[in-house]
Amino acid sequence: MTALTDLYQEVILDHNRSPRNFRAIEGATHSGLGHNPLCGDQLTLYVRVEDGTIREIGFQGKGCAISKASASLMTEAVKGKTLAEAEELFGRFHDLLTGPSDVPAEAKSFGKLAVFSGVREFPVRVKCATLAWHTLHSALAGGSPASTE
Protein backbone atom coordinates (compact mmCIF):
# COMPACT_ATOMS: atom_id res chain seq x y z
CA MET A 1 0.00 0.00 0.00
CA THR A 2 1.15 3.52 -0.65
CA ALA A 3 1.23 6.07 2.16
CA LEU A 4 -1.90 7.60 0.66
CA THR A 5 -4.04 4.49 0.61
CA ASP A 6 -2.66 3.75 4.07
CA LEU A 7 -4.01 7.11 5.21
CA TYR A 8 -7.36 6.97 3.48
CA GLN A 9 -8.31 3.41 4.34
CA GLU A 10 -11.82 2.25 3.59
CA VAL A 11 -12.80 2.36 7.27
CA ILE A 12 -11.84 6.03 7.43
CA LEU A 13 -13.65 6.88 4.21
CA ASP A 14 -16.71 5.02 5.47
CA HIS A 15 -16.79 6.85 8.80
CA ASN A 16 -16.25 10.14 6.97
CA ARG A 17 -19.23 9.44 4.71
CA SER A 18 -21.44 8.08 7.45
CA PRO A 19 -20.18 9.21 10.82
CA ARG A 20 -21.51 7.19 13.76
CA ASN A 21 -23.07 8.89 16.79
CA PHE A 22 -23.30 12.10 14.77
CA ARG A 23 -25.84 13.78 17.04
CA ALA A 24 -26.33 15.78 20.19
CA ILE A 25 -26.93 13.67 23.31
CA GLU A 26 -29.90 14.52 25.47
CA GLY A 27 -29.01 14.78 29.11
CA ALA A 28 -25.31 15.08 28.39
CA THR A 29 -23.34 15.55 31.59
CA HIS A 30 -20.30 16.88 29.74
CA SER A 31 -19.78 18.71 26.50
CA GLY A 32 -16.83 20.30 24.80
CA LEU A 33 -15.94 22.39 21.82
CA GLY A 34 -12.93 21.39 19.76
CA HIS A 35 -11.35 23.77 17.32
CA ASN A 36 -8.48 23.58 14.90
CA PRO A 37 -7.77 27.22 14.07
CA LEU A 38 -5.36 26.27 11.32
CA CYS A 39 -8.07 24.74 9.16
CA GLY A 40 -11.22 26.12 10.74
CA ASP A 41 -12.47 22.67 11.70
CA GLN A 42 -14.67 22.47 14.74
CA LEU A 43 -16.67 19.87 16.55
CA THR A 44 -18.94 19.75 19.53
CA LEU A 45 -18.82 16.67 21.69
CA TYR A 46 -21.61 15.48 24.01
CA VAL A 47 -20.99 12.92 26.71
CA ARG A 48 -23.26 11.35 29.30
CA VAL A 49 -21.26 9.92 32.17
CA GLU A 50 -22.80 7.71 34.83
CA ASP A 51 -20.91 6.11 37.68
CA GLY A 52 -17.61 7.09 36.13
CA THR A 53 -18.49 5.36 32.87
CA ILE A 54 -19.21 6.89 29.44
CA ARG A 55 -22.75 5.72 28.71
CA GLU A 56 -23.57 7.92 25.72
CA ILE A 57 -21.39 9.99 23.42
CA GLY A 58 -22.07 11.91 20.23
CA PHE A 59 -20.61 14.71 18.19
CA GLN A 60 -21.51 17.32 15.59
CA GLY A 61 -19.43 19.63 13.47
CA LYS A 62 -17.39 20.10 10.35
CA GLY A 63 -14.03 18.73 9.49
CA CYS A 64 -11.78 16.84 7.15
CA ALA A 65 -12.11 13.10 6.57
CA ILE A 66 -9.45 12.33 9.14
CA SER A 67 -10.93 14.43 11.94
CA LYS A 68 -14.49 13.33 11.24
CA ALA A 69 -13.63 9.63 11.02
CA SER A 70 -11.50 9.92 14.13
CA ALA A 71 -14.35 11.50 16.08
CA SER A 72 -16.73 8.83 14.82
CA LEU A 73 -14.43 5.94 15.66
CA MET A 74 -13.59 7.49 19.01
CA THR A 75 -17.24 7.58 20.03
CA GLU A 76 -17.49 3.88 19.26
CA ALA A 77 -14.24 3.09 21.05
CA VAL A 78 -14.95 4.89 24.34
CA LYS A 79 -18.63 4.14 24.78
CA GLY A 80 -18.93 1.92 27.84
CA LYS A 81 -15.41 2.67 29.01
CA THR A 82 -14.58 4.21 32.36
CA LEU A 83 -13.07 7.70 32.32
CA ALA A 84 -9.71 6.26 33.30
CA GLU A 85 -9.86 3.71 30.49
CA ALA A 86 -10.76 6.41 27.97
CA GLU A 87 -7.86 8.58 29.07
CA GLU A 88 -5.50 5.64 28.91
CA LEU A 89 -6.66 4.86 25.38
CA PHE A 90 -6.13 8.49 24.34
CA GLY A 91 -2.56 8.30 25.60
CA ARG A 92 -1.85 5.16 23.60
CA PHE A 93 -3.65 6.51 20.54
CA HIS A 94 -1.54 9.63 20.66
CA ASP A 95 1.60 7.52 20.86
CA LEU A 96 0.40 5.47 17.90
CA LEU A 97 0.16 8.64 15.80
CA THR A 98 3.35 10.31 16.90
CA GLY A 99 5.63 7.36 17.64
CA PRO A 100 8.40 6.18 15.35
CA SER A 101 6.97 4.52 12.25
CA ASP A 102 9.29 1.50 12.48
CA VAL A 103 7.52 0.37 15.65
CA PRO A 104 4.51 -1.66 14.49
CA ALA A 105 1.17 -0.65 15.96
CA GLU A 106 -0.21 -3.27 18.30
CA ALA A 107 -3.17 -3.72 16.05
CA LYS A 108 -5.18 -5.89 18.39
CA SER A 109 -5.13 -3.55 21.34
CA PHE A 110 -6.42 -0.68 19.21
CA GLY A 111 -9.22 -2.45 17.41
CA LYS A 112 -10.54 -0.27 14.60
CA LEU A 113 -8.48 2.69 15.78
CA ALA A 114 -5.44 0.98 14.27
CA VAL A 115 -6.52 2.37 10.89
CA PHE A 116 -5.07 5.69 12.00
CA SER A 117 -1.52 4.35 12.14
CA GLY A 118 -1.10 5.67 8.56
CA VAL A 119 -1.38 9.22 9.93
CA ARG A 120 2.17 8.84 11.26
CA GLU A 121 3.45 9.44 7.74
CA PHE A 122 1.58 12.77 7.60
CA PRO A 123 2.73 14.79 10.62
CA VAL A 124 0.61 17.83 9.70
CA ARG A 125 -2.50 15.67 9.89
CA VAL A 126 -1.87 14.35 13.42
CA LYS A 127 -3.85 17.22 14.89
CA CYS A 128 -6.80 16.31 12.68
CA ALA A 129 -6.79 12.79 14.06
CA THR A 130 -6.46 13.89 17.67
CA LEU A 131 -8.90 16.83 17.71
CA ALA A 132 -11.83 14.73 18.95
CA TRP A 133 -9.67 13.14 21.62
CA HIS A 134 -8.38 16.46 22.91
CA THR A 135 -11.97 17.65 22.98
CA LEU A 136 -13.05 14.58 24.97
CA HIS A 137 -10.20 15.13 27.37
CA SER A 138 -11.14 18.74 28.03
CA ALA A 139 -14.88 18.01 28.14
CA LEU A 140 -14.34 15.39 30.82
CA ALA A 141 -12.01 17.70 32.70
CA GLY A 142 -14.67 20.45 32.43
CA GLY A 143 -11.99 22.79 31.19
CA SER A 144 -11.64 25.34 28.46
CA PRO A 145 -12.36 24.51 24.79
CA ALA A 146 -9.83 22.20 23.19
CA SER A 147 -7.58 23.51 20.48
CA THR A 148 -5.01 21.65 18.50
CA GLU A 149 -2.88 24.75 17.98
Partner: protein, 415 residues
Protein backbone atom coordinates in the same frame (compact mmCIF):
# COMPACT_ATOMS: atom_id res chain seq x y z
CA UNK B 1 23.39 43.93 -10.59
CA UNK B 2 21.03 41.17 -11.58
CA UNK B 3 21.34 38.26 -13.91
CA UNK B 4 18.38 38.01 -16.18
CA UNK B 5 18.81 36.50 -19.59
CA UNK B 6 15.53 37.72 -20.88
CA UNK B 7 14.95 39.66 -24.02
CA UNK B 8 12.47 42.46 -23.46
CA UNK B 9 10.10 41.45 -26.21
CA UNK B 10 9.33 37.94 -25.00
CA UNK B 11 8.10 36.17 -21.93
CA UNK B 12 9.48 32.68 -22.11
CA UNK B 13 8.29 30.96 -18.98
CA UNK B 14 10.99 28.28 -19.20
CA UNK B 15 13.66 30.99 -19.17
CA UNK B 16 12.01 32.57 -16.17
CA UNK B 17 11.77 29.22 -14.39
CA UNK B 18 15.51 28.71 -14.81
CA UNK B 19 15.99 31.80 -12.61
CA UNK B 20 14.35 30.02 -9.67
CA UNK B 21 16.62 27.31 -8.22
CA UNK B 22 13.90 25.69 -6.09
CA UNK B 23 11.75 24.94 -9.13
CA UNK B 24 14.19 22.26 -10.23
CA UNK B 25 13.83 20.24 -7.04
CA UNK B 26 11.59 17.24 -6.70
CA UNK B 27 8.99 16.55 -4.03
CA UNK B 28 8.23 12.90 -3.25
CA UNK B 29 10.09 11.99 -6.42
CA UNK B 30 8.00 14.25 -8.61
CA UNK B 31 8.67 17.68 -10.07
CA UNK B 32 7.62 20.46 -7.73
CA UNK B 33 4.37 22.09 -8.84
CA UNK B 34 4.23 25.24 -6.77
CA UNK B 35 0.77 26.81 -6.86
CA UNK B 36 0.91 28.80 -3.63
CA UNK B 37 2.45 32.12 -4.59
CA UNK B 38 -0.30 34.10 -2.84
CA UNK B 39 1.07 32.55 0.32
CA UNK B 40 4.69 33.22 -0.44
CA UNK B 41 6.61 33.39 -3.71
CA UNK B 42 9.75 31.51 -4.62
CA UNK B 43 12.98 33.47 -4.98
CA UNK B 44 15.03 34.03 -8.10
CA UNK B 45 18.77 33.45 -8.07
CA UNK B 46 19.36 37.22 -8.25
CA UNK B 47 17.53 37.78 -4.95
CA UNK B 48 19.26 34.89 -3.22
CA UNK B 49 22.61 36.23 -4.40
CA UNK B 50 21.83 39.79 -3.35
CA UNK B 51 21.15 38.67 0.20
CA UNK B 52 24.19 36.41 0.22
CA UNK B 53 26.42 39.11 -1.26
CA UNK B 54 25.33 41.65 1.34
CA UNK B 55 26.51 39.39 4.15
CA UNK B 56 29.69 38.38 2.33
CA UNK B 57 30.79 41.79 1.11
CA UNK B 58 28.87 44.70 2.60
CA UNK B 59 27.60 43.80 6.06
CA UNK B 60 27.85 46.56 8.66
CA UNK B 61 25.28 48.57 10.53
CA UNK B 62 23.90 51.58 8.74
CA UNK B 63 23.57 55.29 9.45
CA UNK B 64 25.96 55.39 12.37
CA UNK B 65 29.59 54.82 11.60
CA UNK B 66 32.30 56.69 9.81
CA UNK B 67 33.98 53.75 8.15
CA UNK B 68 33.72 52.76 4.53
CA UNK B 69 31.92 49.47 5.07
CA UNK B 70 29.08 51.10 6.98
CA UNK B 71 28.82 53.72 4.26
CA UNK B 72 28.47 50.98 1.64
CA UNK B 73 25.82 49.18 3.68
CA UNK B 74 23.90 52.42 4.14
CA UNK B 75 24.11 53.13 0.42
CA UNK B 76 22.83 49.65 -0.41
CA UNK B 77 19.91 49.85 2.04
CA UNK B 78 18.95 53.38 1.09
CA UNK B 79 19.37 52.42 -2.55
CA UNK B 80 16.74 49.74 -1.99
CA UNK B 81 14.46 52.37 -0.46
CA UNK B 82 14.82 54.40 -3.65
CA UNK B 83 13.95 51.32 -5.71
CA UNK B 84 10.78 50.91 -3.65
CA UNK B 85 9.95 54.60 -4.17
CA UNK B 86 10.35 54.24 -7.92
CA UNK B 87 8.35 51.00 -8.03
CA UNK B 88 5.46 52.64 -6.17
CA UNK B 89 5.81 55.93 -8.07
CA UNK B 90 6.00 57.66 -4.70
CA UNK B 91 7.08 61.27 -4.30
CA UNK B 92 9.94 60.75 -1.89
CA UNK B 93 11.97 58.10 -0.05
CA UNK B 94 10.84 59.90 3.12
CA UNK B 95 7.52 58.20 2.47
CA UNK B 96 8.96 54.68 2.39
CA UNK B 97 9.08 53.02 5.82
CA UNK B 98 10.66 49.58 6.01
CA UNK B 99 8.80 47.08 8.20
CA UNK B 100 8.85 43.33 8.70
CA UNK B 101 6.00 42.97 6.24
CA UNK B 102 2.42 43.97 5.55
CA UNK B 103 1.29 42.89 9.00
CA UNK B 104 3.78 45.07 10.81
CA UNK B 105 3.06 47.95 8.43
CA UNK B 106 -0.64 47.87 9.29
CA UNK B 107 0.05 47.45 13.00
CA UNK B 108 2.34 50.47 12.83
CA UNK B 109 -0.33 52.51 11.12
CA UNK B 110 -3.19 51.38 13.37
CA UNK B 111 -1.11 52.15 16.43
CA UNK B 112 0.35 55.52 15.41
CA UNK B 113 -2.59 56.80 13.38
CA UNK B 114 -4.91 55.61 16.12
CA UNK B 115 -2.96 57.41 18.80
CA UNK B 116 -3.10 60.65 16.85
CA UNK B 117 -6.57 60.57 15.32
CA UNK B 118 -8.92 57.92 16.73
CA UNK B 119 -11.03 58.49 19.84
CA UNK B 120 -14.03 56.89 21.53
CA UNK B 121 -17.08 57.07 19.30
CA UNK B 122 -15.03 57.32 16.11
CA UNK B 123 -15.30 54.72 13.38
CA UNK B 124 -12.77 52.68 11.44
CA UNK B 125 -14.08 51.26 8.18
CA UNK B 126 -12.71 48.10 6.58
CA UNK B 127 -14.20 45.59 4.15
CA UNK B 128 -15.51 42.06 4.49
CA UNK B 129 -12.72 40.86 2.22
CA UNK B 130 -9.77 41.74 4.43
CA UNK B 131 -6.97 39.44 5.51
CA UNK B 132 -6.74 39.08 9.29
CA UNK B 133 -3.79 41.46 9.18
CA UNK B 134 -6.11 44.29 8.09
CA UNK B 135 -8.79 43.37 10.65
CA UNK B 136 -7.13 42.54 13.94
CA UNK B 137 -4.85 45.63 14.29
CA UNK B 138 -7.94 47.83 13.84
CA UNK B 139 -9.93 45.71 16.27
CA UNK B 140 -7.19 46.13 18.84
CA UNK B 141 -7.26 49.87 18.24
CA UNK B 142 -11.04 49.96 18.66
CA UNK B 143 -10.84 47.99 21.90
CA UNK B 144 -8.19 50.37 23.17
CA UNK B 145 -9.99 53.58 22.25
CA UNK B 146 -13.70 52.76 22.26
CA UNK B 147 -13.94 53.38 18.54
CA UNK B 148 -16.23 51.24 16.39
CA UNK B 149 -15.14 48.91 13.59
CA UNK B 150 -17.49 48.95 10.61
CA UNK B 151 -17.40 46.64 7.62
CA UNK B 152 -18.30 47.12 3.97
CA UNK B 153 -19.97 43.85 2.93
CA UNK B 154 -19.19 41.57 -0.02
CA UNK B 155 -21.70 39.94 -2.35
CA UNK B 156 -22.14 36.34 -3.50
CA UNK B 157 -19.76 36.83 -6.39
CA UNK B 158 -17.02 38.10 -4.14
CA UNK B 159 -17.22 41.79 -4.97
CA UNK B 160 -17.53 44.67 -2.54
CA UNK B 161 -21.05 46.07 -2.23
CA UNK B 162 -20.03 49.55 -3.29
CA UNK B 163 -23.59 50.88 -3.09
CA UNK B 164 -23.18 50.69 0.69
CA UNK B 165 -19.89 52.59 0.76
CA UNK B 166 -21.13 56.17 0.95
CA UNK B 167 -23.51 55.37 3.81
CA UNK B 168 -20.67 53.71 5.75
CA UNK B 169 -18.40 56.72 5.29
CA UNK B 170 -19.80 58.85 8.09
CA UNK B 171 -18.53 61.99 9.75
CA UNK B 172 -17.11 59.71 12.47
CA UNK B 173 -15.06 57.63 9.99
CA UNK B 174 -11.36 58.30 10.63
CA UNK B 175 -9.80 55.89 8.16
CA UNK B 176 -10.73 53.26 5.56
CA UNK B 177 -8.65 50.11 5.09
CA UNK B 178 -9.19 48.15 1.89
CA UNK B 179 -7.48 45.21 0.28
CA UNK B 180 -6.49 45.72 -3.36
CA UNK B 181 -6.58 42.04 -4.35
CA UNK B 182 -8.28 39.48 -2.10
CA UNK B 183 -5.97 36.62 -1.12
CA UNK B 184 -8.94 34.32 -0.54
CA UNK B 185 -11.08 35.12 -3.59
CA UNK B 186 -8.77 36.77 -6.10
CA UNK B 187 -11.07 39.77 -6.46
CA UNK B 188 -9.42 42.95 -7.74
CA UNK B 189 -11.11 45.84 -5.98
CA UNK B 190 -11.66 49.21 -7.70
CA UNK B 191 -9.37 50.95 -5.26
CA UNK B 192 -9.05 54.16 -7.22
CA UNK B 193 -12.81 54.69 -7.16
CA UNK B 194 -13.01 53.75 -3.48
CA UNK B 195 -10.25 56.23 -2.63
CA UNK B 196 -12.04 58.98 -4.53
CA UNK B 197 -15.28 58.35 -2.70
CA UNK B 198 -13.55 58.22 0.68
CA UNK B 199 -11.68 61.42 -0.04
CA UNK B 200 -14.94 63.10 -1.00
CA UNK B 201 -15.92 62.52 2.64
CA UNK B 202 -12.49 63.54 3.91
CA UNK B 203 -11.49 60.01 4.91
CA UNK B 204 -7.91 58.80 4.30
CA UNK B 205 -7.40 55.34 2.82
CA UNK B 206 -4.94 52.52 3.52
CA UNK B 207 -4.52 50.02 0.68
CA UNK B 208 -3.33 46.50 1.51
CA UNK B 209 -1.30 45.79 -1.62
CA UNK B 210 0.26 42.51 -0.47
CA UNK B 211 -1.47 40.54 -3.24
CA UNK B 212 -1.69 43.23 -5.91
CA UNK B 213 1.79 44.70 -6.04
CA UNK B 214 3.53 41.51 -7.22
CA UNK B 215 1.02 40.78 -9.96
CA UNK B 216 -0.48 44.05 -11.14
CA UNK B 217 1.94 46.60 -9.74
CA UNK B 218 0.71 49.66 -7.89
CA UNK B 219 1.07 53.36 -8.58
CA UNK B 220 0.32 55.31 -5.43
CA UNK B 221 0.05 58.60 -7.32
CA UNK B 222 -2.55 57.10 -9.63
CA UNK B 223 -4.48 55.27 -6.89
CA UNK B 224 -4.52 58.43 -4.83
CA UNK B 225 -4.42 56.49 -1.56
CA UNK B 226 -2.83 57.85 1.61
CA UNK B 227 -1.14 54.71 2.89
CA UNK B 228 -0.15 51.43 1.29
CA UNK B 229 1.39 48.26 2.69
CA UNK B 230 3.11 45.31 1.07
CA UNK B 231 5.42 42.38 1.87
CA UNK B 232 8.74 41.53 0.23
CA UNK B 233 8.20 37.80 0.32
CA UNK B 234 5.13 37.95 -1.90
CA UNK B 235 7.04 39.80 -4.62
CA UNK B 236 9.87 37.27 -5.02
CA UNK B 237 11.86 38.92 -2.23
CA UNK B 238 12.87 37.76 1.24
CA UNK B 239 10.64 37.19 4.26
CA UNK B 240 10.90 39.63 7.14
CA UNK B 241 10.93 42.78 5.03
CA UNK B 242 8.05 44.90 3.85
CA UNK B 243 6.96 48.49 3.47
CA UNK B 244 4.51 50.99 4.80
CA UNK B 245 4.23 53.81 2.32
CA UNK B 246 2.40 56.95 3.39
CA UNK B 247 1.96 60.45 2.04
CA UNK B 248 4.53 62.61 3.72
CA UNK B 249 1.97 65.01 5.15
CA UNK B 250 0.30 62.08 6.89
CA UNK B 251 3.47 60.35 8.09
CA UNK B 252 4.66 63.67 9.53
CA UNK B 253 1.65 63.64 11.84
CA UNK B 254 2.19 60.12 13.14
CA UNK B 255 3.79 59.65 16.55
CA UNK B 256 6.57 57.03 16.71
CA UNK B 257 5.48 53.38 16.73
CA UNK B 258 8.43 51.89 18.56
CA UNK B 259 11.19 53.69 20.40
CA UNK B 260 14.86 52.84 20.22
CA UNK B 261 17.95 53.34 18.17
CA UNK B 262 17.97 55.00 14.77
CA UNK B 263 14.64 56.80 15.32
CA UNK B 264 15.95 59.61 17.50
CA UNK B 265 17.61 62.97 16.98
CA UNK B 266 18.77 63.28 20.58
CA UNK B 267 18.03 61.49 23.82
CA UNK B 268 18.27 62.67 27.39
CA UNK B 269 16.36 61.46 30.41
CA UNK B 270 14.34 64.66 30.33
CA UNK B 271 13.47 64.83 26.66
CA UNK B 272 13.96 62.88 23.44
CA UNK B 273 13.58 64.41 20.03
CA UNK B 274 12.92 62.25 17.05
CA UNK B 275 14.64 61.74 13.76
CA UNK B 276 13.24 62.83 10.45
CA UNK B 277 11.15 60.54 8.26
CA UNK B 278 11.39 57.71 7.55
CA UNK B 279 13.86 56.89 10.38
CA UNK B 280 11.40 58.20 13.00
CA UNK B 281 9.15 55.23 12.24
CA UNK B 282 11.96 52.65 12.01
CA UNK B 283 13.32 51.92 15.48
CA UNK B 284 16.25 49.52 15.75
CA UNK B 285 18.37 47.87 13.11
CA UNK B 286 16.18 46.72 10.27
CA UNK B 287 16.47 43.72 8.00
CA UNK B 288 19.33 45.20 6.00
CA UNK B 289 20.12 42.25 3.75
CA UNK B 290 16.39 41.71 3.30
CA UNK B 291 15.87 45.30 2.25
CA UNK B 292 18.70 45.14 -0.24
CA UNK B 293 17.37 41.86 -1.66
CA UNK B 294 13.86 43.34 -1.84
CA UNK B 295 15.31 46.04 -4.05
CA UNK B 296 16.74 43.33 -6.27
CA UNK B 297 13.36 41.55 -6.37
CA UNK B 298 11.67 44.74 -7.55
CA UNK B 299 14.41 45.12 -10.20
CA UNK B 300 13.71 41.56 -11.28
CA UNK B 301 9.98 42.13 -11.63
CA UNK B 302 10.54 45.42 -13.42
CA UNK B 303 12.98 43.87 -15.86
CA UNK B 304 10.54 41.13 -16.79
CA UNK B 305 7.80 43.72 -16.94
CA UNK B 306 4.65 44.00 -14.86
CA UNK B 307 2.44 44.07 -17.92
CA UNK B 308 3.93 40.86 -19.23
CA UNK B 309 3.64 39.25 -15.80
CA UNK B 310 -0.01 40.33 -15.53
CA UNK B 311 -0.77 39.01 -19.02
CA UNK B 312 0.89 35.67 -18.27
CA UNK B 313 -1.00 35.31 -14.99
CA UNK B 314 -4.27 36.26 -16.70
CA UNK B 315 -3.69 33.41 -19.13
CA UNK B 316 -3.02 31.04 -16.23
CA UNK B 317 -6.18 32.20 -14.46
CA UNK B 318 -8.30 31.78 -17.57
CA UNK B 319 -6.88 28.30 -18.21
CA UNK B 320 -7.36 27.29 -14.57
CA UNK B 321 -10.92 28.61 -14.44
CA UNK B 322 -11.80 26.68 -17.57
CA UNK B 323 -10.04 23.42 -16.69
CA UNK B 324 -11.17 23.38 -13.05
CA UNK B 325 -14.77 23.88 -14.16
CA UNK B 326 -14.44 20.54 -15.97
CA UNK B 327 -13.79 18.68 -12.71
CA UNK B 328 -17.07 17.11 -11.57
CA UNK B 329 -18.27 18.43 -8.24
CA UNK B 330 -15.85 21.34 -8.18
CA UNK B 331 -17.15 24.80 -7.35
CA UNK B 332 -15.05 27.94 -7.63
CA UNK B 333 -15.51 30.34 -4.71
CA UNK B 334 -15.07 33.93 -5.80
CA UNK B 335 -16.26 34.76 -9.27
CA UNK B 336 -15.69 38.49 -9.38
CA UNK B 337 -15.54 40.11 -12.80
CA UNK B 338 -12.03 41.39 -12.11
CA UNK B 339 -9.73 38.74 -10.67
CA UNK B 340 -6.01 38.22 -10.20
CA UNK B 341 -4.24 34.83 -10.28
CA UNK B 342 -6.05 33.19 -7.38
CA UNK B 343 -8.60 30.38 -7.64
CA UNK B 344 -10.36 29.23 -4.48
CA UNK B 345 -12.49 26.14 -4.77
CA UNK B 346 -14.32 23.38 -2.97
CA UNK B 347 -14.74 19.83 -4.22
CA UNK B 348 -17.98 17.99 -3.40
CA UNK B 349 -17.86 16.87 0.20
CA UNK B 350 -14.11 16.38 0.21
CA UNK B 351 -12.58 18.66 2.82
CA UNK B 352 -9.84 20.97 1.48
CA UNK B 353 -7.30 19.45 3.84
CA UNK B 354 -7.83 16.05 2.31
CA UNK B 355 -7.51 17.63 -1.13
CA UNK B 356 -4.23 19.22 -0.04
CA UNK B 357 -2.79 15.98 1.35
CA UNK B 358 -3.58 14.01 -1.79
CA UNK B 359 -2.24 16.72 -4.12
CA UNK B 360 0.92 16.86 -2.03
CA UNK B 361 1.55 13.22 -2.92
CA UNK B 362 1.73 14.41 -6.53
CA UNK B 363 4.22 17.14 -5.66
CA UNK B 364 1.54 19.83 -5.98
CA UNK B 365 1.56 22.62 -3.39
CA UNK B 366 -1.69 24.50 -2.83
CA UNK B 367 -3.02 26.30 0.19
CA UNK B 368 -5.91 24.80 2.10
CA UNK B 369 -7.75 26.35 5.00
CA UNK B 370 -9.27 29.71 5.75
CA UNK B 371 -6.44 31.75 4.18
CA UNK B 372 -6.27 34.04 7.23
CA UNK B 373 -9.62 35.41 6.10
CA UNK B 374 -12.14 33.68 8.35
CA UNK B 375 -14.83 36.36 7.84
CA UNK B 376 -14.66 35.65 4.09
CA UNK B 377 -15.12 31.93 4.75
CA UNK B 378 -18.03 32.69 7.10
CA UNK B 379 -19.61 34.85 4.40
CA UNK B 380 -19.83 31.80 2.15
CA UNK B 381 -20.59 29.42 5.02
CA UNK B 382 -17.44 27.42 4.36
CA UNK B 383 -14.94 26.28 6.97
CA UNK B 384 -12.19 26.30 4.39
CA UNK B 385 -11.35 26.22 0.72
CA UNK B 386 -8.53 24.89 -1.41
CA UNK B 387 -6.67 27.63 -3.26
CA UNK B 388 -4.33 27.59 -6.22
CA UNK B 389 -2.47 30.82 -6.81
CA UNK B 390 -0.04 31.73 -9.53
CA UNK B 391 3.27 33.46 -9.96
CA UNK B 392 5.21 34.49 -13.02
CA UNK B 393 6.93 31.10 -13.15
CA UNK B 394 3.83 28.92 -13.40
CA UNK B 395 2.90 27.08 -16.57
CA UNK B 396 -0.32 25.91 -18.17
CA UNK B 397 0.97 22.35 -17.73
CA UNK B 398 1.11 22.87 -13.98
CA UNK B 399 -2.54 23.86 -14.05
CA UNK B 400 -3.23 20.64 -15.95
CA UNK B 401 -1.27 18.69 -13.30
CA UNK B 402 -3.56 20.24 -10.68
CA UNK B 403 -6.63 19.11 -12.59
CA UNK B 404 -5.22 15.57 -12.90
CA UNK B 405 -4.47 15.60 -9.18
CA UNK B 406 -8.04 16.59 -8.40
CA UNK B 407 -9.31 13.65 -10.43
CA UNK B 408 -7.13 11.47 -8.23
CA UNK B 409 -8.70 13.04 -5.15
CA UNK B 410 -12.10 12.03 -6.46
CA UNK B 411 -10.84 8.50 -7.05
CA UNK B 412 -9.51 8.15 -3.51
CA UNK B 413 -12.83 9.37 -2.13
CA UNK B 414 -14.80 7.14 -4.46
CA UNK B 415 -16.62 10.10 -5.95
Amino acid sequence: MIDITLTPATFDVETVRADFPILSRKVRGRPLVYLDSANTTQKPEAVIRASDRFYRETNANIHRSTYRLSEEATTAYEGAREKVRRFLNAASTREVVFTRGTTEAINLLASSFGQAFVKAGDEVLITGMEHHSNIVPWQLLCERTGARLRVLPIDDRGELVLEDLDALLTERTRILGVVHVSNALGTVNPVKEIVARAHAKGVPVLVDAAQSLPHLGVDVADLGCDFLAFSGHKVYGPTGIGVLWGKEEWLEKLPPYQGGGDMIASVSFEKTTYAELPARLEAGTGNLAGGVALGTALDYVTTIGLERIAAHERALLAHATERLSEVPGLRIVGTAREKAGVVSFVLDDVHPHDVGTILDQEGICIRTGHHCAQPVMARYDLPATARASFGLYNTLEEVDALVDGLRKVREVFGA
